[in-house]
């Protein structure tokens, strides 16, 4: 509370004369000596255009969209483009991918099918459901109503396994990887206590899947009794502790103790799903999303920031503790406070970040800059395309805006291991061969040569090729290379296919730069 109060006075939350994007830029600039002198200049229009299409709609712009943006004389055209992209179906798709991967981490769809889950996310994103409301919904649904069951995916597809659920609740919503605190206080992170781990687990330890975890239609049931006790493996005396439900840093939930004999609404019996009078699990959603739990908003804004900027203010995303402080602590506090006061509005948060100079900076390293510390945001960080962005971008480069058909192969080829965070670039042999010789990529870009061949001059072909694939005009050298390649080609169509592939397989295409 004190922190919120101080923030409210010092950085003047809601001060219209100093919009949030400016305050973000000020705090970023304060993070490095002579920031404005050494930082990279703003991205040029084409670089900005490609970046914002990828970040806000999940795909690259068409050649026509790039041309129209480059030709636009409106001095506020960047803001206008951001605002218009935020209201496209592409933004809904992009945010669905973000939420899906954040919440489910590419786990196999087990008890909630993909289609039902995507339809659930689509509704939530389309109505711009506040993030806290979404998370409350996910953590309170018990899966028993077929109409709303999809919301229970977070628990159901983790089989409600207590250690897995504890680990992921703390990582995904609190930014704290408490996994090592399962057996003892974390050996190297003094903030991560075993007691906290079991405090979280106590919310779910009475819950289980009914009739059993193997049933694809299983629903969540709960007992009225059962306490969480733990012993540290480091403790030679083997002292045992009992904890009640508690979020780290918050007060323990007040427990109702029903009279003896009246603990259940539906008492346990053979083939009966028990329902307790007092449910510990029902306290979880409220406790996690509570305004008294600063970790919730802090973790959410850090994840959105990372999606847009390619690096969390707290980096790694689930490693928030005092010995790993945020790169810009005041900025993280500001974003969290603003996110709360804007009703946990993710779309709004994305827009505010997109408006900043920080986001719109070039990724080209200035010649004067020899050392580029990634956590200072002096130069835009190049983000490897997510599997979804990559699938859509290659489809678009081939002239096919809808990349849905390519999602499956790209997810299985480029997605992180189930249950692991997607982090950085992997470039394994199978991935490269998939791009080099694989049938999927070949057929996705097969349409481009014919589209290019309709143009009358090689000059126009070179421009259209670069605009369609790399979302920019070719340099003079590049244009000459294309024209030369076409002039010397025995088979023009084959040459166009070679050129298209080369652009798609370039490092420039692989990254959102």
């Amino acid at each position: 509370m004190l922190v919120c109060f101080l923030l409210a006075t010092v950085v003047s939350v809601g001060d219209a004369r100093n919009p949030l994007p400016n305050r973000i830029d000020t705090l970023i600039a304060a993070g490095f000596p002579d920031f404005t002198k050494v930082a990279a200049p703003p991205a040029d229009d084409a670089e900005f255009c490609r970046r914002v299409y990828l970040d806000l709609t999940g795909t690259i712009p068409t050649a026509a969209e790039v041309r129209s943006f480059l030709a636009d004389k409106n001095p506020k055209k960047r803001t206008a483009l951001i605002n218009s992209l935020l209201n496209t179906p592409g933004f809904i798709r992009r945010l669905m991918w973000f939420l899906d991967v954040t919440l489910m981490e590419r786990r196999a769809d087990a008890k909630v099918p993909r289609a039902a889950w995507e339809s659930y996310l689509q509704t939530a994103v389309t109505e711009n459901r506040p993030y806290n409301v979404l998370v409350r919904d996910l953590l309170s649904n018990d899966g028993s109503d077929p109409k709303t069951r999809a919301a229970a995916k977070f628990f159901l597809d983790r089989d409600l396994e207590p250690n897995l659920v504890t680990r992921d609740l703390s990582r995904i919503f609190l930014g704290r990887n408490l996994q090592c605190a399962q057996c003892h206080d974390h050996p190297s992170v003094i903030d991560y206590k075993q007691e906290e781990y079991y405090g979280i687990q106590a919310f779910v330890n009475r819950s289980f899947l009914f009739p059993n975890a193997q049933a694809p239609t299983a629903i969540i049931a709960e007992k009225a009794e059962g306490d969480v006790t733990f012993v540290s493996v480091f403790d030679k005396a083997k002292k045992s502790y009992t904890v009640t439900p508690k979020m780290p840093g918050m007060k323990a939930a007040t427990e109702e103790k029903p009279e003896k004999g009246k603990e259940y609404k539906v008492a346990p019996a053979a083939n009966v799903r028990p329902i307790p009078l007092y449910s510990r699990r029902e306290q979880l959603a409220g406790a996690i999303t509570s305004r008294d739990n600063p970790a919730f908003a802090r973790t959410a804004v850090n994840r959105v920031w990372s999606m847009m900027l390619g690096r969390g203010l707290v980096n790694v995303l689930d490693w928030d503790h005092s010995a790993n402080p945020p790169s810009h602590p005041e900025l993280l506090d500001l974003l969290a406070a603003e996110f709360v006061s804007h009703n946990y509005d993710v779309k709004w948060l994305v827009s505010q970040i997109a408006y900043t100079q920080t986001y719109q900076r070039s990724s080209e390293v200035p010649a004067t800059l020899t050392d580029v510390p990634a956590d200072r945001y002096l130069v835009a960080i190049m983000k490897p395309l997510s599997p979804e962005q990559f699938a859509f971008a290659i489809s678009q480069a081939g002239g096919q805006p809808n990349g849905n058909g390519a999602l499956g192969p790209f997810r299985s080829m480029f997605g992180a291991r189930p249950g692991e965070a997607q982090d950085g670039l992997t470039a394994t042999l199978d991935q490269t061969l998939f791009l080099k010789y694989g049938g999927t990529v070949r057929s996705l870009i097969a349409g481009r040569p014919a589209l290019l061949a309709k143009l009358t001059t090689d000059d126009a072909i070179a421009e259209e090729l670069f605009l369609s694939v790399l979302s920019r005009l070719p340099t003079a050298d590049e244009k000459r290379d294309v024209i030369d390649a076409l002039k010397s080609a025995k088979d023009r169509n084959a040459a166009l296919a070679e050129l298209t592939w080369a652009l798609v397989a370039s490092a420039e295409f692989r990254f959102n730069h």
């Binding site: 250690n163 897995l164 680990r167 990887n177 996994q179 090592c180 399962q182 057996c183 003892h184 190297s188 733990f230 012993v231 493996v233 083997k238 045992s240 790694v316 689930d318 490693w319 990724s363 080209e364 390293v365 190049m382 490897p384 992180a416 291991r417 692991e420 965070a421 982090d423 950085g424 670039l425 992997t426 470039a427 394994t428 042999l429 199978d430 490269t432 061969l433 998939f434 080099k436 010789y437 694989g438 049938g439 070949r442 050298d477 290379d481 390649a485 084959a494 040459a495 070679e498 050129l499 592939w501 080369a502 652009l503 397989a505 370039s506 490092a507 420039e508 692989r510 990254f511 730069h513």
Partner: protein, 428 residues
Amino acid sequence: MQRCTYSCNTADHGLSRRAFLGASTAAALGPSGFANAYANAELAKTQKRVLVIFLAGGASQLETWDPKPNTDTGGPFKAIPTSVPGTHIGELLPYTAKQMHRLAIVRGLNSVSDDHGIGEKIMLTGRKPEPAVEYPHIGAVAAKLLGNSAASALPGHIQILPKGSSGFGKADATFLGPKFGSVSLGDGKPPADLLRPANMTAESDAAREDFRRKLNDRFAKSRKSAATDAYAESFEQAERVVKQGEVFDIEKEDPKVADRYGRHDLGRHFLLARRLLEAGVTYVKVSHSNYDTHHENFDFHIEQLGEFDRPFAALMDDLAARGMLETTLVIVMSEMGRTPKINANYGRDHWSRAWSVALGGCGIKGGAVVGKTNANGTVVTDREVYSGHLFHTYLQAVGLDSSKSFHPNDRPIPIADPKTAAISEILA
């Protein structure tokens, strides 16, 4: 009390992926990054490699390495003398018997599980499965710790399967990262994308690569990062692999050599394995199927071992003749053994409590026999070992310190089960 089941051990922060990528790129390229004509000779002397021959389904120890003739469990076959005085093996392995001076036998293995899947995991990871720790397979461990030779761009972890599709697996490398996952060669065929599509000419392929390189060079002038470099480099590596593609083609082999291995599936697969090892692949596993003889155990072993025996001996001879045996650890294992008790269908069932593994080559004392079972093979009576002991032994045989740990995300995970140790009696 809570057991420390998984927390301290899983690879969790994705950071590891990046870290391993960096490490493995360097390892895969070696100092020069390109193959040279003298590399193979040099390689044969120095590069440590591992060959696992996996008798899938669970070969019978009583018909192979630990015969018990003339007992209630022994079955109809005799034990025959071998090239090691005093050591006998089953009569279905006459050619292998002449190789025993190159092989050690571990006869006191207890692998704990009678389940095919779990048993295979136990044998390949050297651990009992734990709820949420996935340990990497020996192939991934070898590929990571031994590295490929500088001469080879080929993947370090290859498995040749009797049939089925070819492709890239990632799961068996677990926290070591996808680079060390297995490449499967169904019936010895390379994954489809490893070969240039039929309708693309070499010139066309070269032209598009040239253009891609040009674009990357321009891009790297002002936007270079470790990730963009790794991405660009991955195409160079892929090209080198494609150039080494002939290694998968056993038609390139001298027909006389191919004859010695035998003109059938397992013979071809062994020959391919030798070609891959010779080309610098760190780890090759060849599976021979199927030894799951619940019915007619004896007839099936006549058939299966009849296929195995001669090509295996040819392979051992060939490795020795090429000077590769000193640097190549050869392991013959299954996911389990078979029951001493003969069931009503003349079969033997699943059995993990007392069975055998044979190994030889790099770092192994040929002719050594360690561990004993009782007269009819139902109990280990001397020097019982677990898969963990074997895992330590494999690593030490190829010169690695098996007491070290991996550190995914700075969390120590012992490479081999610290509750076990190497079987020093068979280490050279």
